[in-house]
Symmetry: D2
Subunit: 375 residues, 4 copies
Amino acid sequence: MARKGVVAVLDRPEGKYELKEYPLPDPAPGTVLIKQELGGVCGTDIHMYHGHLPGITYPICLGHEFVGRIAALGKGITTDFLGKAVKEGDRVIVVPGVGCGKCYWCEIAKTPTTCEEGFAYGFFSDGNKEYHFTGGYAGYVYLHHPRTAILKTDLPLEVGVLLEPISVALHAVSRSNIQLGDTVVIQGSGAVGLSCQVCAKLAGAAKIIHIGGPTPFRIKMAKEFGADITINIAEVKDPEERIQMVKDKTIKGIGADVVFECAGAPQAVREGLDMLRRSGTFVEVGHFTDVGEVSLNPFTHICNKNVSLQGSWGGEVEGFVRGLPILEKRQFPYEKLITHKLPLKRLNEIMQAPDKGYILDDKESLKITVSSETS
Amino acid sequence: MARKGVVAVLDRPEGKYELKEYPLPDPAPGTVLIKQELGGVCGTDIHMYHGHLPGITYPICLGHEFVGRIAALGKGITTDFLGKAVKEGDRVIVVPGVGCGKCYWCEIAKTPTTCEEGFAYGFFSDGNKEYHFTGGYAGYVYLHHPRTAILKTDLPLEVGVLLEPISVALHAVSRSNIQLGDTVVIQGSGAVGLSCQVCAKLAGAAKIIHIGGPTPFRIKMAKEFGADITINIAEVKDPEERIQMVKDKTIKGIGADVVFECAGAPQAVREGLDMLRRSGTFVEVGHFTDVGEVSLNPFTHICNKNVSLQGSWGGEVEGFVRGLPILEKRQFPYEKLITHKLPLKRLNEIMQAPDKGYILDDKESLKITVSSETS
Amino acid sequence: MARKGVVAVLDRPEGKYELKEYPLPDPAPGTVLIKQELGGVCGTDIHMYHGHLPGITYPICLGHEFVGRIAALGKGITTDFLGKAVKEGDRVIVVPGVGCGKCYWCEIAKTPTTCEEGFAYGFFSDGNKEYHFTGGYAGYVYLHHPRTAILKTDLPLEVGVLLEPISVALHAVSRSNIQLGDTVVIQGSGAVGLSCQVCAKLAGAAKIIHIGGPTPFRIKMAKEFGADITINIAEVKDPEERIQMVKDKTIKGIGADVVFECAGAPQAVREGLDMLRRSGTFVEVGHFTDVGEVSLNPFTHICNKNVSLQGSWGGEVEGFVRGLPILEKRQFPYEKLITHKLPLKRLNEIMQAPDKGYILDDKESLKITVSSETS
Amino acid sequence: MARKGVVAVLDRPEGKYELKEYPLPDPAPGTVLIKQELGGVCGTDIHMYHGHLPGITYPICLGHEFVGRIAALGKGITTDFLGKAVKEGDRVIVVPGVGCGKCYWCEIAKTPTTCEEGFAYGFFSDGNKEYHFTGGYAGYVYLHHPRTAILKTDLPLEVGVLLEPISVALHAVSRSNIQLGDTVVIQGSGAVGLSCQVCAKLAGAAKIIHIGGPTPFRIKMAKEFGADITINIAEVKDPEERIQMVKDKTIKGIGADVVFECAGAPQAVREGLDMLRRSGTFVEVGHFTDVGEVSLNPFTHICNKNVSLQGSWGGEVEGFVRGLPILEKRQFPYEKLITHKLPLKRLNEIMQAPDKGYILDDKESLKITVSSETS
């Protein structure tokens, strides 16, 4: 095993990533050292880069979507979360969020994504400056927390790295009351939108209407990932027209049964509610940071609509466990979501992609990934 | 039996009620003629008086909360909805909404209050100008629709007339996921607010925080109807202060488990969400007409909050059936909600009460009722 | 239009079907006359043939699964249940059960399949001996009940006729709490078992274990209809061995997440509970008549298991509405379920098929259908 | 603080309790030492005394219902589970079950009472023979597990000791789908039956029918704890007659909305299902050990009944948290359930009470408690 490992350290909001080398820890009992293979770049990482997430301290090693191989096992770890035997060299997907399992949220509300006493790789330092391998933007990740869940897998890296967004989508779908035969609207063509679309489809939606874009590439992806109908917001610019288009595709024009807001734009909430049928379910799973407000009418959009409006925050361990067999079935070309696979040293450029129209290396990005290779 | 009956006819929005006399119908098979005893005045009646409800045609006979005695039974009617034998002279409560029972909403969504093909006494004409007894502001009501549900009762009039607002509250509570031991906030001190409070209490809320007023009378009523803590908005004028007061009364200051918005003020929605704990449930049951919009933050109020926000429209037959044994237990001094019992001819004055600070005959009103007496 | 139509009349339990001719009714306002095209033979029809269903009066015209074309439209009928325009000659699927829409079950419990005041084609006479076209084993069916739901379709007959068993399966799945990624056991290889399997798969089951047979044909069908693993009870005869086989395919050997009992054998209930994981859901959707009892242990099978055991009776209108777009997607070779298409005059032979090892015309039967052709 | 504490050690199934003295542990960081005040004797303790619970090792210190005062706080413990400051001398109720918080049951199924990797005071040794204070039948209990939840309270001992059975009842009620206005049957007059009755009442049941006894004392208790109607099985011996009596008290004779089986007798399951209405919910919360089987008819009792049959195993931390404010409201004379308060040395006699008609010291027992006093 290597003696040292590299970590991409972001010094401050909108600062610089620097690759630093540190000695690798020898895993304590109940912990695991992971040789990172591939890490995904999430919109939340971009928000944290810009300092838009409260409660984050810098310097920090970001990256909460990652797959790697077991470099060293601490004493006592012989299986993964599901009881499969693990050994050094096995590929595993890491569940980044570690609920405390004993607070009000974990035990009473049973909504572990609101746990405030847990830990999350890629979000927090471990508070112990002797080692630094706490996020996926690194050559190694040290799973120092003894409650960390790992899942053994033979999936290709480009598929396995998507389990985290799939877990977010599964949380959203579990709150959506989706029923077999439903007509479902997906707002937003990012990784969360397409993941929700896949999960809504697999949960029995008979008709998926995708509203997104704005590029032809994203619309193409929406089609390949199960949309029956697509509406490009760059082409149909008037929300009223989009609302009518959706209604026209529903029973007696009443509107969609379920709408997933994955665009992260405040106005999309209002538009989504307007295209939802009465007594339907609206799931808000696109706002992972504060990007402004929206005006709603309590009579029209909520009370008279007899609606169920669900906020869905993050992904649970449950989503990883349920999502793994879904990815393993390969019913969709998941690997196509990975548009870029770049070395860690290019993180500074990667963070600028959204500001450059999501273009990187002359190619439109959807899910950018970083490999542990430094060059 | 009388040969003629009086009807209070409202000619147009913000028009005049005029008492008109018409011949009483002889009930057709499957129908019932009711001698009205007491009718409640609902906020929605005030909205319709002002013409603020879409889809209403005038002239109209309003009044959808009413209790009466059976004046004549059409052939085939021998029992009430629950199978109790009925005969002329029996007191019954009428369920004003009559779902069609066969549309998408009734059979598929199973949310009959969104049925668009049904009928409702006090909201619609029967489309047949030969008779006019279609609402509770009258001496008689003709239950011409053969699917109308009636419930036999021995309750005093002043209690029985409250079954309609109780049915609205039961609908709201059924959507609230209230659990035994919960801390519940009620926003609003009207009939719907106090009814929701009673039902939340009976459903197991351990602590009720009532935010309302603004008069001492309304706060006093809130206390008599089960509030553990009351906050008068006339005294605590700063919403931030009210939010903090609620949080201080909850486990670790996380906020209330469930909030019922019964104030019908758009800003109350935002305030209510701010005092709700994460993963809690917010029920919007106060906006029965369009009174404006509210600005919400999709991140703060919905997505990150992992909230369930439920719109609850109207009351179902189920609410009448479940509410009847509740009222019969008399666990609260329901009759105290009836502040006024006035003859039909005073309807014109009654409609002005909200504009006069809810004062009528020098007395603050809460639930005003009209008796079938004309003088 | 023809002036007369044929009806297959069963005179008494275990009696004889006789083809009788009657004048066709002229449809009253709100009703429809259907020229039957294809009717399915259901296990319940066999039970009724043997007189094993309580409350049925004979003579009777059986057949509650059927597709036909509109022969004549009564005044006022211009669309199907979903608002699609209909005209003479259009193919429609008929929902045989007609809930009353206003009883305790329809309005309060909201479980219309337990309605006791409704009507069902193929189960009841209309109580009016002037016409006799009340079931699908006939050349025509008169939809005399004005609340009958019809669904326009372009599906081939052999697919459309399956919407009824699919509605039964959708009811069962709606009570199963199935989650994406679940491991699901299906017990029983008949039309209900395969329909539940299809619906469980479409609802997101990641692994389907089918226990059935006993013929190779049925196991082959189970595989074509989505089973990941099949266990033929003719080959694996020991229930304990089957239980262990299922457990071996689940996470840490804990058992299946959901089990659907569609075999209709009392012992299958016990076996199914034994292969279910703790806190799982067992759905009993196979016992459509009384075929005996089973011994269960309240500690082992229920209390300690922390199980949810759901009885699921019949199919709702909702199942037809949700099932139609599912069949239209043709994700499975539904038409292969139809093993026989025979004229009405062969009904007497058809009723004997179960007693002859489900062999008819030297071919194993699964779903037998009857066409309106009499020869 | 005392240097030594007493423990009642049961050497083997049906063996002898012996009071042994051991040195008190000095609480490690994150742990607490409790000076026991009052412990409840549960039916499960009797089962364990007889060796009827699988997986228990002897010698053992039983007792999982207990209230005590903090004798010593390990480093880091400053508050109870709900954030209330705690110090030495404070009275606390201990949640005996400690879920692991990270297994399939805790994180995925979210049913912590089926966790197989947790710990429970009064059920297990701590595997460390240096100290022995692992159950409530002792002068002290050492909460050695750092995830143990404690709840500070000012409740009298005789009320606080009941929080454990209340937590079992709250779990059952949470699985019962009880709705406001329901008619609920309680089968069984023990501590679980009366606790379920209290919780069903507080959750909104409008009519409680209690079937139990067989002594007048138990029926009297049932009445004081909220039964509207009582049926003594010693007086009404024929199950058919009891079934009819229940039906006669329900809407149109359809049967009860919800039935809780708390008698722990297999035949009660069948009787309870027979008195349940179609589409109702049956909760099995009475079989905490194997006492035999019952014959059920899958058609009559499950499928045709369209029933939801819920097993409910044990109590969750959630039940303690929700139950505490319920007990604090003192809406029922909880302390009357405590029929005996005896010293530890009488445990051998206590274990014989069920075999002697529940008579101890010439008095019928319901909840027997043991105080930490040894004489």
